[in-house]
């Protein structure tokens, strides 16, 4: 019964908190709206998210987020350097296929998002069976190193988080 009413408790809490911060008012009125949103939005969107993700070690998401944040800052300097100083004909842009061992769609989505936000890579597509990601690297003289870096730096951590 509870499960049918609140299919994604995490999402419900997140939405409610999100609303409170967005409205920036901590009154009974906003709390009621927050609860209303937290309950109805997951119910309405349930057809597109049928399964609850299994997160084995959710607390590891915090160091993961910090790592990604740091890499985003580093990425900006690298991309800025390529844009400003590298002659156009020396930019080695290429597509790279990255095999993915993760199976949870949520985990693959996080990996794809991470790839886009971090050093010189953008997720461009995924394989129809969800077992490979197609990424584009802005400047990758060694495409295999980029692929291995993604697998060891991000995918290995996500594997531990999602178990």
């Amino acid at each position: 019964m509870i499960r049918r009413l609140i299919p994604h408790p995490g999402l419900s809490v997140f939405l409610a908190l999100f609303w409170l911060v967005l409205a920036n008012s901590w009154t009974t009125g906003s709390l009621i709206v927050a609860l209303f949103l937290g309950i109805t939005v997951p119910l309405i969107t349930r057809p597109w998210w049928p399964d609850r993700p299994r997160v084995a070690r959710p607390w590891l998401l915090v160091p993961y987020a910090l790592l990604v944040l740091w890499d985003v800052i580093v990425a900006n300097f690298q991309v800025a350097r390529v844009i400003l100083f590298l002659p156009k004909d020396r930019i080695r842009s290429t597509f790279i296929a990255v095999p993915v061992d993760l199976t949870a769609p949520e985990a693959i989505s996080i990996l794809a998002g991470t790839i886009t936000m971090t050093p010189g890579t953008v997720t461009a597509d995924w394989a129809a069976d969800g077992r490979t990601l197609l990424i584009h690297a802005l400047h990758a003289p060694d495409p295999d190193a980029v692929r291995d870096d993604i697998k060891t730096r991000y995918e290995a951590r996500l594997k531990r988080i999602f178990g």
Partner: protein, 132 residues
């Protein structure tokens, strides 16, 4: 004295963020290939906008004494939406302009963009219609 140092720090942050946003836009102009251009707005701008958000949050907290969390929400929206819009722009580009055999093959099966579109090409990808 301390407040003044903080103000200088915030000002430096705003200018630094602005420089990064500028570099991102410059990349959009300079890079020749559409896939390369996609890199500029997804990265150089995140630090640009991020710096402005941190400065705004810290500035409001320091001057008004209220902790302002709305900047954090903007950052969350940004981190969720930027990769998604980049992904779909890339997919449209792949579909319209990139020959399938110029891409590295996936481990198994087909890239999702081309999935189900065979040589006969029901969607008319080989035609030179206005979409290209």
């Amino acid at each position: 004295m301390i407040l003044m140092a903080l103000e200088w720090g915030l000002a430096a942050m705003l200018v630094g963020g602005g420089i990064f946003a500028l570099i991102g836009s410059w990349g959009l102009l300079r890079l020749p290939d559409p896939m390369q251009r996609l890199h500029a707005p997804t990265k150089a701008t995140t630090v640009g906008v991020g710096a402005a958000l941190v400065a705004s949050g810290l500035g409001l907290t320091l001057t008004d004494g209220v902790i302002s969390l709305q900047e954090a929400l903007v950052a969350v929206f940004l981190f969720v939406t930027a990769p998604l819009s980049a992904l779909w722009l890339a997919r449209v580009h792949l579909w319209q302009r990139v020959p399938k055999d110029s891409l590295p093959p996936p481990v198994s099966g087909d890239w999702a963009v081309f999935h189900g579109a065979d040589a006969a090409d029901p969607a008319g990808r080989t035609g030179d219609g206005p979409a290209r």
